[in-house]
């Protein structure tokens, strides 16, 4: 990597970190990813270990309660308390988050690769434009989560199928944006200049045009991460994502909803985890867009 390339990256990051909110989101996400990556090492208990004797024990906040009997219910070690089967909520949160983030990442990556490829082809070859984009339109006609549910219903409930469903849902988003950008870039002088040196289509498309689509792709991918994470949680909540008893933020909320009044923290903890993650990705995507691709601003 050349020094100039580094200088470019540094200037992009410098701009990003000038914004306090974006910095906070980036820091939060990095910490979260480290935490989840180390999940099995950090989790004090097995996420599936039940112990009915200590079910519904409150988290560490109980110790600060004036009600002595409530404070006495806190079981040391279970900092976020336990659920209806006495499983440690913190362990489930840390292990379950791995699934959410992994599914979000893999399905965004899959959607990115396929969507970008189709978008580039549609933008560059006029005769492929209509077939590809009409197919994308068909995918677009289904409201997002319904499409994912339809695919899961057809393929059966499993983590892999949920991931596949979410990636298919991501494809048209990438394809449409990349096509638009490719259409614009192929008219640029430097593309004509490259053609004048006898470059083949593949080289023009996958080096010269793709490279100029990258800022856009990075921005969409960040935004899609948020959508994918919330989608897998939604699917799991509806029982169409990660099958129980495996922990996942959405399925944790689903299981906790019966005890909503008895112990709201069971819903709040995974709920806040999803919310913070999704908001962070969205804000980061927003700021990245401002830096990398101001033309996308509404």
């Amino acid at each position: 990597m050349s020094t100039h390339r580094q200088a470019l990256l540094v200037s992009a990051f410098a701009k990003l970190f000038k914004n306090k909110l974006a910095t906070a989101c980036a820091v939060f996400l990095v910490l979260e990813i480290i935490l989840l990556a180390l999940g099995p090492l950090i989790a004090p208990f097995s996420p599936d270990e039940t112990n009915v004797a200590i079910k519904f024990s409150p988290g560490i906040w109980a110790k600060f309660s004036r009600d002595a009997s409530y404070a006495a219910k806190y079981v040391p070690g279970h900092i976020f308390g336990t659920d209806h089967l006495g499983r440690d909520v913190f362990s489930r949160l840390v292990i379950g988050g791995r699934v959410s983030l992994m599914v979000g990442f893999v399905s965004t990556a899959l959607g990115l690769v396929v969507g970008t490829f189709l978008g580039l082809l549609a933008g560059y070859y006029k005769r492929l434009d209509n077939p590809i984009m009409r197919l994308m339109d068909i995918l677009f006609t289904f409201p997002g989560i319904l499409l994912a549910m339809l695919i899961v219903a057809l393929l059966g409930v499993s983590t892999f199928n949920a991931m596949l469903a979410i990636s298919i849902w991501s494809i048209p988003n990438f394809a449409r944006m990349v096509r638009g950008r490719a259409l614009q870039i192929k008219e640029e002088d430097y593309i004509l200049a490259v053609r004048a040196t006898g470059a083949k289509d593949g080289r023009i498309l996958f080096i010269h045009i793709l490279k100029n689509c990258l800022p856009l792709i990075i921005v969409i991918a960040t935004m899609r991460m948020a959508t994918s994470i919330i989608s897998i949680s939604t699917l799991s909540y509806l029982g169409m994502g990660v099958p129980p008893p495996a922990p996942e933020w959405g399925s944790m909320i689903a299981q906790a909803k019966e005890y909503m009044w008895k112990m709201p923290s069971l819903i709040f903890i995974p709920g806040i985890a999803v919310m913070l993650t999704v908001i962070s990705f969205n804000i980061l995507g927003d700021k990245l867009r401002d830096i990398l691709d101001p033309s996308l601003k509404d």
């Binding site: 490259v194 004048a196 006898g198 080096i207």
Partner: protein, 324 residues
Amino acid sequence: MEKILEVKDLVTTFRIAKREYPVLRGISFDIHRRETVCMVGESGCGKSVTALSIMDLLPVNAHVASGSIVLDGQELTTLSHRARNALRGEKAGMIFQEPMTALNPLLTIGYQLTEGLRYHKRLDSKTARELAVQYLKKVGVANPVERLKQFPFQLSGGLRQRIMIALVMSLQPSLIIADEPTTALDVTIQKQVLALLNALKKDMDAGILFITHDLGVVAEIADRVVVLYSGMKVEEGPVEAIIGAPRHPYTQGLLHAVPNVDAEDFVIQAIPGTLPHVTEEIRGCRFHPRCPYATERCRQETPVEIEFVPGHRVACWNVKESAR
């Protein structure tokens, strides 16, 4: 001298609103090795379309309808697009008008300079880089090794145009088409780039088709000049003849329109009227509505080209009459 390019009766049409309109109406000219041919004319007269026709880079709604283009002994018009793509760069290179936009902003100079060498000449990246450095030196770029790592936005317009020239030259084409390569540069840089092209021409063994509307540039660089008007070649000849003793009223008009700051009371004599639109059909000579010497014959018949002095050809009825 060996002919490098032979264009004969080239007709290129554009499809506008589902009708075909000729933009080039049968243009013929030759370029020899180590020769610079300047193509001049107003904007819209078909200079760039000629270049793009030779390169097979016409926009999608345009195509070469008839005529022949022979490059280095090979007929191009019958080849497939794929075959012509393989010849681009290696046989014919092109330098563009806008150095600011002709380089990919997100790729390093080094990448863009070595790219063609790697796929045309099958060089490994190390040899290609060495060659690129050599060519950068040839076009007078200081610190070439450092430049390879930079991005286009870090360089000035003049520097970028030098890099474009190095890029085109490094593939050693037999024909270089330069489409107004100095128009976007300021005058001092323009001078340097022209001097560079003149110097390079000697050791390049290539023919240059230089497109411009600047007659000052023509005087400086051309060996021969082709004057186009509305898709027709109106005059062709050695640069001394065209600048010194133009015969076609359009060429004369162009020369009168060059500002001369030395003259005490110089008035630019613009040619009255405007260039006819491509969709406009004109009976007779296409220049007659603007021509001060137009006769009845000019209004009725398309002039035939005559070679009244060897090498100096004019398509004008009046010149033909006076020569008789």
